[in-house]
């Protein structure tokens, strides 16, 4: 018999297809395992070495468990001062970025003209500009135009240049979900524009405002490239880490690493859990 029915073809093809699928799934799983090992192993080494008494950060040359590097950190004046600088800059960045990002987003969501794409391009361009260029231009401009030497102020300005763009994108995403009828209803009930903004729009944006502040804070604290160029003779926690690392490795940096890892893991877990609950609810 040479007649083959469609059922026979299907019966023959299906298991084969499933085999291929299982096989490619297995390859993908194996690859993921490798990928996450690549991502996490170095970080684990970094964390482990923070507890090694060896003054050269190492996990292979173990000289005993210690917490002395943790005790040494708060006594290191430059690190502590750097942290204070970082916090001051981050505060400044939030104060600058939130109003700017908000104003830009409010304008862009309501501007009905061809200029809006151009405006949008200009306002997001800092995100697409290399950090060192932002740092350098800020440093040059503020010195040439206002005689302002590079320092904490220029660092905050340079960071705010691109962090404000991120804030703007967040506000725009939120504003696009806003029901225009709410504003119109308020206006119709006799509210002035300012009253509508204060009583309707701002409360609606409040959650985004908090998220944007948090993200601005983290971006500012973590920033290296831009800050490195714009900060002049001053320093932040992160540029100080960079300066130390050029001289060689110190377990104190591992300790900072451990702190960062703990903060990151905790907040990422909270975020993922919150997202899951929000997604299900």
């Amino acid at each position: 018999m040479t007649v083959i029915t469609a059922e026979q073809i299907a019966a023959g093809a299906a298991p084969r297809r499933r085999r291929i699928r299982d096989w490619s799934d297995a390859v993908l799983s194996g690859y993921l395992l490798l990928f996450f090992a690549y991502m996490f192993l170095p970080l684990m080494f970094m964390v482990a070495a923070a507890f090694n008494a060896n003054p050269t950060p190492s996990v292979t040359d173990w000289q005993g468990f210690t917490l002395k590097w943790f005790q040494a950190l708060p006594r290191d004046a430059r690190f502590v001062q750097g942290l204070l600088h970082s916090l001051a800059i981050a505060g400044g960045v939030i104060v600058i970025s939130i109003p700017l990002g908000l104003a830009g987003a409010l304008i862009l969501t309501r501007l009905q003209s061809r200029a809006s794409t151009l405006l949008y391009t200009v306002l997001v361009s800092p995100i697409l500009t290399p950090g060192i260029v932002l740092g350098a231009t800020t440093m040059i401009f503020w010195r040439d135009a206002f005689g302002m030497e590079a320092g904490l102020f220029t660092a905050a300005i340079a960071q705010a240049a691109f962090i404000a763009s991120y804030c703007m994108l967040m506000f725009m995403a939120r504003l696009q979900r806003q029901d225009r009828a709410l504003e119109e209803a308020a206006l119709d009930l006799g509210a002035s524009s300012v009253f509508v903004f204060r009583r309707i729009t701002l409360p609606f944006l409040m959650p985004t405002m908090l998220t944007a502040a948090l993200i601005s804070f983290l971006q500012s604290i973590e920033n290296y490239n831009t800050t490195f160029f714009a900060i002049g003779s001053s320093w932040t926690l992160v540029t100080e880490i960079g300066a130390r690392m050029r001289f060689g490795l110190s377990p104190m940096i591992n300790v900072i690493g451990v702190i960062f890892v703990v903060i990151t893991v905790v907040s990422a877990t909270i975020w993922v859990l919150a997202r899951r609950r929000g997604g299900n609810g």
């Binding site: 009828a181 119109e184 308020a186 002035s192």
Partner: protein, 365 residues
């Protein structure tokens, strides 16, 4: 609260090349329940937004209580709008929603609170003030929106299909509530809807709109019984339609040659002998052939019954006469109707129940 009249004086609205509202003159009397009825996209919402001030007319003038509204922003007009989706403020409690207009006017909190309670009592929501709008049912939210609009003591209340989100039962209930409220407050209501049932039951007068044009403004009875245009005739209520040629005129009564035979009907509009015309007759005005008791002349036609639906008080017969479908609504008398499930039957209607109109406008459809 006192209603004010609204006058549209040659008002039109263009968006680029598209004309949403053709130049329109319309007078809505103070204290009237006025509906604007039309299919979606006919321009009724545009008119509403021009009255409330969210759109500026391309030409013409809107006057409320005799005052021109040109250049007056929505928050300074004596109107209040109830949005299709209600637009309750989700972050505020029910009473804060109701008192929002007062808050915007700088009324002290204690007074606001008290006024909100009064209004909530009026719409039967006593004690719900502390809840969030999302905790209320659809009908309750509806009432909050009304209370919120009435709180600012508008002279004109504009309602943009506010019942469309409710289920049928609630919708019918809210109709009578709205009508009562309008009578109680004396405020001018301008009610936008595509639901003819809503328009006909509640309104003192109805404007029927199509393609940016107000086709007819009249009482509900007149709209239903004396439609002024083919569009109004076909949009409001059900109609049986026969197409034909005008073959003669005898005063108001026209003679029309149709594939179903010669028919007599009242002529509305202008038409001459030889013109393409349409005959409209309501299903409830068509009877079975043998049922007539008076000697009035009748149009008779032979039809095949295709289906019989029982709809409570009515029995609906879906028939076919030649190529024209004919629907007949018979009162449910309890016994005779059930035999009429199939077969041929004679149908008849009085010329005074049928109207003839030139095809004219409808040919564009």
């Amino acid at each position: 609260m006192h209603g004010q009249d609204v006058v549209l004086d040659g008002v039109s609205m263009r968006f680029g090349d598209f004309t949403a509202v053709q130049p329109t003159d319309l007078t809505i009397n103070a204290g009237e329940f006025f509906s604007i009825l039309g299919p979606s996209g006919c321009g009724k919402t545009t008119i509403l937004r021009m009255i409330s001030g969210f759109l500026d007319p391309s030409a013409g003038d809107v006057r409320i209580g005799g005052t021109s509204m040109a250049g007056i922003r929505p928050n300074a007009r004596p109107t209040a709008l109830i949005f299709q989706n209600l637009a309750l403020f989700p972050l505020m409690s029910v009473w804060e929603n109701v008192a929002f207009g007062l808050e915007a006017r700088g009324v002290p909190k204690k007074v606001r609170r008290q006024r909100a309670e009064e209004l909530l009592a009026m719409v039967a929501l006593t004690g719900q003030g502390e809840k969030k709008p999302t905790e209320l049912s659809g009908g309750q939210r509806q009432r909050v929106a009304i209370a919120r609009a009435l709180a600012v003591e508008p002279a004109v209340l504009l309602l943009d299909e506010p019942l469309s989100a409710l289920d049928l039962k609630l919708r019918q209930h809210m109709r009578s509530e709205l009508k009562d409220l309008q009578r109680k407050t004396g405020v001018t209501f301008i009610y936008i809807t595509h639901d003819q049932g809503e328009a006909l039951t509640m309104s003192d007068r109805v404007a029927v709109m199509n393609r940016g044009v107000v086709e007819q403004v009249a009482s509900s009875d007149e709209i239903y019984n004396q439609p002024g245009t083919p569009f109004v005739a076909s949009f409001v209520g059900e109609q049986n339609v026969f197409r034909g040629k005008l073959s003669g005129l005898d005063g108001e009564i026209a003679r029309v040659d149709t594939p179903q035979g010669e028919m007599l009907a009242r002529l509305r509009g202008r038409a001459g002998v030889g013109d393409e015309v349409m005959i409209f007759v309501r299903p409830e005005r068509v009877g079975l052939g043998g049922t007539g008791t008076d000697d009035a002349p009748r149009n008779r036609l032979r039809a095949t019954i295709e289906r019989r639906d029982l709809e409570g008080p009515f029995v609906n017969l879906h028939c076919r006469a030649g190529d024209a479908p004919v629907t007949v609504h018979l009162p449910n008398s309890g016994d005779t109707a059930s035999s009429l499930a199939s077969g041929e039957t004679d149908l008849a209607f009085r010329p005074s129940d049928a109207i003839v109109m030139p095809v004219g406008d409808l040919a564009r459809e």
